[in-house]
Structure formats: structure tokens, C-alpha cells
Amino acid sequence: MSQNTPTAGGFTGDPAAALQITGSGACCGSPAQAVGGILPPAGATASGDPCCGTRRAARAADSCCGTEARADAIAAGQGCCS
């Protein structure tokens, strides 16, 4: 059985780059990925921030978006992104 048929598939570039995505290993990090033009442009809305509102606003509301609160959220097994 041949399982290495040459095709156009597989990674373009180093597969290990998938380990370097910002947010890996954390509950808050990368925003939901814009796909198919469905999501607003990055920076135009909460798509640039995994939490709702701005980070400062969320921090003021004692959410998990602040650095310290985020660390606490991770430690407590809570999360703030989807």
C-alpha cells in the first residue's frame, strides 16, 4: 500500500509552525478565524479580541481578559474564548 502518493496536499512550509500560533496552550488568544468573508475585518470589532468589548473594558468589568484575571481564569479552569 502506498501512503505517500505525491499530491498538492500537506503543509506549505514547516508543519511545526502550527505549534507557534499565538494563543496555543491558553484559553484566550487567537480570535476566531475569519473565513469566507463572514467575520468583520480584524480590528473592526470583537473579532480582534476573543472577549467582548475592549480589553480595558473587560478588565474593568473584572472579566478574564486582563492579564492577571486571565491567569486566574486558566488556573481555575475557566475560559473566555470560543
Binding site: L19, I38, C52, G53, R56, A57, A58, A61, S82
Partner: protein, 414 residues
């Protein structure tokens, strides 16, 4: 179903039609968008348990607490007026309730004003686009509420998010850009008003993961764990949010993969499935499961699928934990099936497993809609479903077949 273990034969068995049928059920009206803790979520869970039992799996559920899940319990009535007349805003398109809003079921009426410029007492304050909610809160004493601009999707729908900050002291409504512009202009010109309610409560509920074991792992054998979240953000009163791409597609792919793999996986490999609840409230189901796996001393190789609705270009892959070997096998599977892959964010349950120290990859292949009524089954591309299911089947098969001591061409650290 054939019991052949030849990979080409297995890939031939992948059925896009079967996955489309699964998505139609998960996105249907009775399941009501599958919000964690809802009756629709429970109905989805019951159906999924039956599906997994039908392929011969030992199935069980595992509950966990979820606090303060936001729920719009009535469609908000919001009306505003000025010199040019009165307009009632359409919930979901022109207006929605901000997740940081206070719960105010009664309609509040007040003059419109601009935050930072007008006396806040009794006014609905429009927050200009370049002012953050944090800054807006500096002087809101006695205000009726805040009005915040929020972009909408390509079909004009607001996005719904369940994860976010705790509620603040004021009602907060989000307006689409056109409405926000009109209301801001009217507020600046005076003689304008707004009346609105923010019926948004927060419920403490119980989430439940679905676990299925098809094969127990043997020592030194690969222990595969396929995951996808089955919860959605849930319907609003009068608004369906079917959650087809996010993430009925991922669940359909995992179900299809286990149907194909269960009778054919090479000897010695373990195969389990976790269909996860509570992803939309912060990946709480996977957090719960990952902590259980750690306590049990397990070491699964996790393949998580979130969004297999519409592939444009390459499949996004995000990895965490000691996943070099898994990535190498995913790369090999991609080349074998002709599916292009690219490192990219997959902000989903895979992060919980990777963060817990397990080799984990998240696979995302796009969504035809996202957290809105636009996320319907008709926007799911069957060819994408087939491609992602074949990718998962090939990766799992190669992982199970490869000797555990195989060196990774991309630098496993052992």
C-alpha cells in the same frame, strides 16, 4: 461495511451525504441551537449517544458545572425617534444586547446623548466608534444605558457570543453601523430619544460531555482521541441560530471518521471520541476532560475538528503540546489525500488538551456562517466535509499504523 484496513478502501467509504444528514439533524428546530444546559442541547446529546452506540462504542456522559451562561429571555423592544419620525429596530439585525449588559426587562426611555459630551442623567448615551466601552463608563452616572457600535456579518446579522465579561451596571445595546451612525447623528442634533430593554439573564447550568470508547489502547500503542464540540450559542427568542458550520460539521466529521475507522483500525491502537459541551462558554467541556485525562495518567493524541463548512485555500491547523509527530503524520495524510494544510489559529478545544500537555491538533476548514442566523446547513459544502473526514481518517490510520518509535521528520523530542 467492509472491514478492510487498506487506507484507500477506508477513504472510499467516507460519505458526504451521511454527514450532511447529521448536520441537518443537529441544526434542526427542535435542537434550538444546542446551547449548553438547554433542552436542545440535551436532545442533541441523546441523539449523538444513539449514533455512537450504533457503531459499537461504549458510551457515557460526564457532567460539569457552568455558571452564568448569558441568555436573552425575550426579544428586546427598542424604538428611537427624532425629528424625522420613529423607528422600531429589528432584533438581531439592527440591535442586540451586549453581553456585558445589565439585565433590565422593563423599557427605559430617555433622551439620546453622546457619551463624554452630554449630561448622562436619564439619557441613552451613544458611544462613538473610537471610544471604548471602558472609556465610556467614565461618566455614566444616572444614564439610562449605553449604545455601542458593532459590525454585522455579510447577511446583516449581529454575532452572538456567550463567553465574555461579567455584566456591568448599565443596560448596553449594540447597534449595526448604519443604525449607530443615524442614532449618533440624531443625538448630536438633539430632540431625539430612545426606549429599550435589555432582558439578558445569566443561568447556572450543567454541561455534559459525551464519551465513547471504540477501542482500548494497548501499551506502546497509539491512543487516538477524536473531538468536536456539539454545543452552539443557542437560539434567541424569535431568532434561530442553527450552528451548522459551528460545529455540527465537526461533529459530523468525527462521527463519520469513527464509523469508517472502528472496524478497520490496525491492531493495538486505541480509539476514543469526546463530543464536547460548553465550548462556546470558554471551552469548559474540554477543560474538564483534559483534567480528567491528566488525573488518569492518559496520553492521548488529540485531533479536534471545529468548522468544516467551507474550505477556501488550505485547512487551518493549530497544534499544542508534544505534537511534532502528530503534525508529521497529519502532513503525510494531507499529502496522501491531496488536502493542503497551513498553520493557522483554531481557537477551540484543542487548546485545552494542548495546554494540559497532550499532543493535540485543531483542524478548521472554514464556516459558511458564524454565531448568527446565517450559520445554516445550506451553507455547508459537502466536498469540504468529505475532504476533512478523509484527512482525519488518513491521519488516524497512519498514526495507528506507524510504530510508536518512528522518528518524526520534523523533529520530535522524546
Amino acid at each position: 461495511m467492509t472491514s478492510s484496513s487498506n487506507l484507500a478502501d477506508l477513504l472510499e467509504q467516507v460519505s458526504a451525504d451521511r454527514m450532511v444528514a447529521t448536520i441537518a439533524i443537529l441544526a434542526s428546530d427542535p435542537l434550538a441551537g444546542r446551547r449548553v444546559g438547554s433542552t436542545g442541547g440535551a436532545a442533541a446529546r441523546a441523539w449523538l449517544l444513539d449514533q455512537l452506540a450504533a457503531v459499537g462504542a461504549d458510551v457515557r456522559t460526564e457532567e460539569f458545572p457552568v455558571r452564568a451562561v448569558p441568555q436573552v429571555y425575550a426579544a428586546p423592544t427598542v424604538t428611537w425617534g427624532g425629528r424625522d419620525g420613529t423607528t422600531e429596530l429589528v432584533f438581531g439585525r439592527q440591535v442586540a444586547i451586549h453581553p456585558a449588559s445589565a439585565d433590565r426587562p422593563d423599557i427605559r426611555r430617555g433622551a439620546l446623548g453622546v457619551v463624554g459630551k452630554d449630561d448622562p442623567a436619564g439619557r441613552w448615551l451613544v458611544v462613538p466608534a473610537d471610544v471604548s466601552l471602558f472609556d465610556a463608563y467614565r461618566d455614566t452616572r444616572g444614564a439610562a444605558g449605553l449604545l455601542v457600535r458593532r459590525p454585522v456579518d455579510a447577511e446583516g446579522w449581529h454575532f452572538t457570543m456567550l463567553a465574555g465579561p461579567d455584566p456591568g451596571p448599565l443596560p448596553v445595546l449594540t447597534l449595526d453601523p448604519d443604525t449607530h451612525h443615524a442614532v449618533l447623528t440624531a443625538a448630536t442634533a438633539r430632540d431625539s430619544w430612545l426606549a429599550g430593554a435589555t432582558p439578558l439573564r445569566r443561568d447556572d447550568v450543567t454541561g455534559a460531555n459525551i464519551h465513547a470508547c471504540l477501542r482500548q489502547p494497548v501499551p506502546a500503542g497509539a491512543d487516538l482521541l477524536l473531538t468536536a464540540h456539539y454545543d452552539g450559542v443557542g437560539d434567541h427568542p424569535g431568532l434561530r441560530l442553527p450552528g451548522a458550520s459551528d460545529n455540527a460539521t465537526g461533529v459530523a466529521v468525527v462521527l463519520e471518521a469513527v464509523r469508517v475507522l472502528a472496524p478497520a483500525l490496525p491492531a493495538g491502537a486505541g480509539l476514543s471520541v469526546a463530543l464536547l459541551d460548553g465550548e462556546e462558554v470558554g471551552a469548559l467541556g474540554s477543560a474538564h476532560h483534559a483534567s480528567q485525562l491528566r488525573a488518569a495518567g492518559a496520553a492521548p493524541l488529540v485531533i479536534n475538528v471545529d468548522g468544516a463548512g467551507r474550505l477556501e485555500g488550505a485547512v487551518a491547523v493549530e497544534a499544542g503540546g508534544p505534537a511534532h509527530r502528530l503534525l508529521a503524520l497529519l502532513d503525510q495524510a494531507g499529502r496522501h489525500t491531496g488536502i493542503p494544510l497551513a498553520a493557522g489559529p483554531v481557537a477551540s478545544d484543542n487548546r485545552r488538551y494542548g495546554g494540559a500537555g497532550f499532543a493535540a491538533v485543531g483542524i478548521g476548514a472554514g464556516m459558511g456562517g458564524y454565531h448568527s442566523p446565517a450559520d445554516t446547513p445550506d451553507k455547508v459544502d459537502p466536498a469540504t466535509l468529505g475532504a476533512i473526514a478523509r484527512l482525519v481518517v488518513a491521519t488516524a490510520h497512519l498514526t495507528a499504523a506507524a510504530p510508536a518509535t518512528l522518528s518524526s521528520p520534523i523533529g520530535d523530542k522524546r
